[in-house]
Symmetry: C2
Subunit: 309 residues, 2 copies
């Protein structure tokens, strides 16, 4: 019987131990997994044992000629893989954020795109061209356009609908702004779409001035509307507040997707489809060549002209 209460998982979960576990799934034995992650077999045994003790169930069936996962182990491995997917995106993004120093490809992007789409692309790109250092500069859509115009970056990603003539663009994602509230909000569960009047009459939790999301909202439902309840400069701060019941928010579907899935937020139907195109932009008549071209392929190829929801 545990006497311990419930220490939060992130206080004891060791990523190397988790990796070891997925390694066992991939290589069929504890030793092989240990070799794969560069850990001494004896320490691997120790790590895995504490992992099992902390999870509270047996992960692998040990035998003197290899180890196989238990049913629980298989499940745990699958869940662990999702964790590592997140971590790899984080790693890919972080690697691109380090202060540029002779990198071969520099892309710039606005926040929403950098948050939700770029890490995947960066990961895929890194896999295709492992030798290439890619750097990511983050700025608002207007600044991205300027950077592209001055030619100091070959490829940019923006969420603004207005793109100068001289600049080429291609849609990489069809995003939607959605209205969300906490599950206990009066709007939650309504079937009749919200009208523009209702929306403009209600104070919202909003992104700051200058953000692409805010600009799009200003443009589509107009400037003359209630003052925001509060403004934040990050999507997830808004999510948190909305979940906490501070009020309704209008956010990119990309930003609220997971909260919707987890049932922490509810999407409110709206009379209008707040669609917006997220675009790759570059200068000049030709499609970008070389590394930038490959990157563009990944961004457009993966995102197919398919909307997220």
């Amino acid at each position: 019987m545990d006497t311990a209460g419930k220490p939060p998982i992130e206080n004891w979960l060791q990523l190397p131990a988790l990796r070891l576990l997925t390694g066992i799934a991939d290589h069929g034995s504890l030793s092989a997994a240990a070799r794969a992650v560069g850990m001494a077999q004896s320490n691997a045994t120790r790590n895995l044992k504490t992992l099992e003790r902390r999870f509270g169930y047996t992960l692998i069936n040990r035998s003197s000629r290899g180890s196989s996962l238990t049913q629980e182990g298989i499940l745990t491995v699958e869940w662990a893989r999702e964790v590592f997917e997140g971590i790899e995106k984080l790693a890919a993004g972080a690697a691109a954020l380090v202060t540029p120093a002779g990198e071969e490809l520099s892309v710039c992007a606005s926040m929403t795109i950098a948050e939700y789409l770029l890490p995947t692309w960066l990961g895929a790109f890194q896999m295709q061209m492992p030798a290439l250092r890619t750097s990511l500069r983050i700025m608002n859509s207007q600044q991205v356009i300027e950077v592209i115009q001055t030619g100091s970056s070959p490829l940019g990603f923006v969420e603004t609908p207005e793109i100068p003539e001289a600049i080429q663009s291609k849609t990489v994602w069809t995003d939607r702004l959605v209205i969300v509230t906490a599950v206990n909000h009066p709007w939650a569960g309504r079937f009749r779409p919200l009208t523009k009047a209702e929306l403009t009459d209600t104070p919202l939790i909003e992104r700051e001035q200058g953000s692409g999301t805010r600009a799009f909202l200003d443009q589509t439902i107009g400037h003359e509307r209630s003052k925001p309840i509060v403004e934040f400069n990050s999507n997830s701060a808004i999510c948190q507040s909305a979940i906490a019941g501070l009020g309704p928010a209008v956010l990119s579907k990309l930003a609220v997707e997971s909260a919707l899935k987890a049932g922490r937020l509810v999407e409110i139907p709206y009379e209008q489809d707040l669609k917006r195109e997220l675009k790759a932009i570059w200068e000049g008549p030709e499609a970008p060549n070389g590394a930038a071209g490959r990157f563009l392929d990944i961004a457009t190829g993966k995102a197919e002209p398919r909307s997220y929801g």
Copy 2:
């Protein structure tokens, strides 16, 4: 200048430090974040500093009256949040897997559902009813049906189309089997849908006999087809092999979604829509009541009759 090469991120990334970072985003200061995660402020300073050193860029602007995230910090926080989402799913799943001991709700499910859908539901359920211990038993669809029939579990989730008359069911997800290959496979990039003949003539990487996926495949495209290249009892083992180029595989869209997004696998069009319903099942004329009922609400409510792709 780093002399160090490239230690894999999971070898140095500390989850407490990451949590600290998201805490700064949420609470506005390093101290507050440290308090929130139960860490001494001094250690928080130390942890965050090593985190910054390892990422290679500055995460927060320190000031003597609070700290705010840098642009890079904001992005990093967002990416970190996705990591924690994965971890929370892992934690929710793991908590339900510990050997049942007087739990209040026991659900049983087949693999695919347990892998991809249940953790989210468990997380949401746990949030609604924090006091309730939920346990999860994992078995194949046939066994789930038996358990429901004998009444030893009030709620089950299956992927089998055949459900006995006496048992009530409700679709919680519309899944699709998709044919996938590595990006360099001859099938990759073809527009003309694969025909049934082509598919049955080609050896595949398959799930083991008795799995829901295999049964569905046997049923829809028939038993008379090429022997599998190899069989695995886990979806991701198949994914890995397919990515490695061992051959084509037919898997739940749920299982390959992320590999597709990351461009590691390609979906091959097929002449037939391999749709299958994932269903919640229970016994008796009435919908389950109490905890099981709430759980069912979550599973059906969140999954809306909407397909994943």
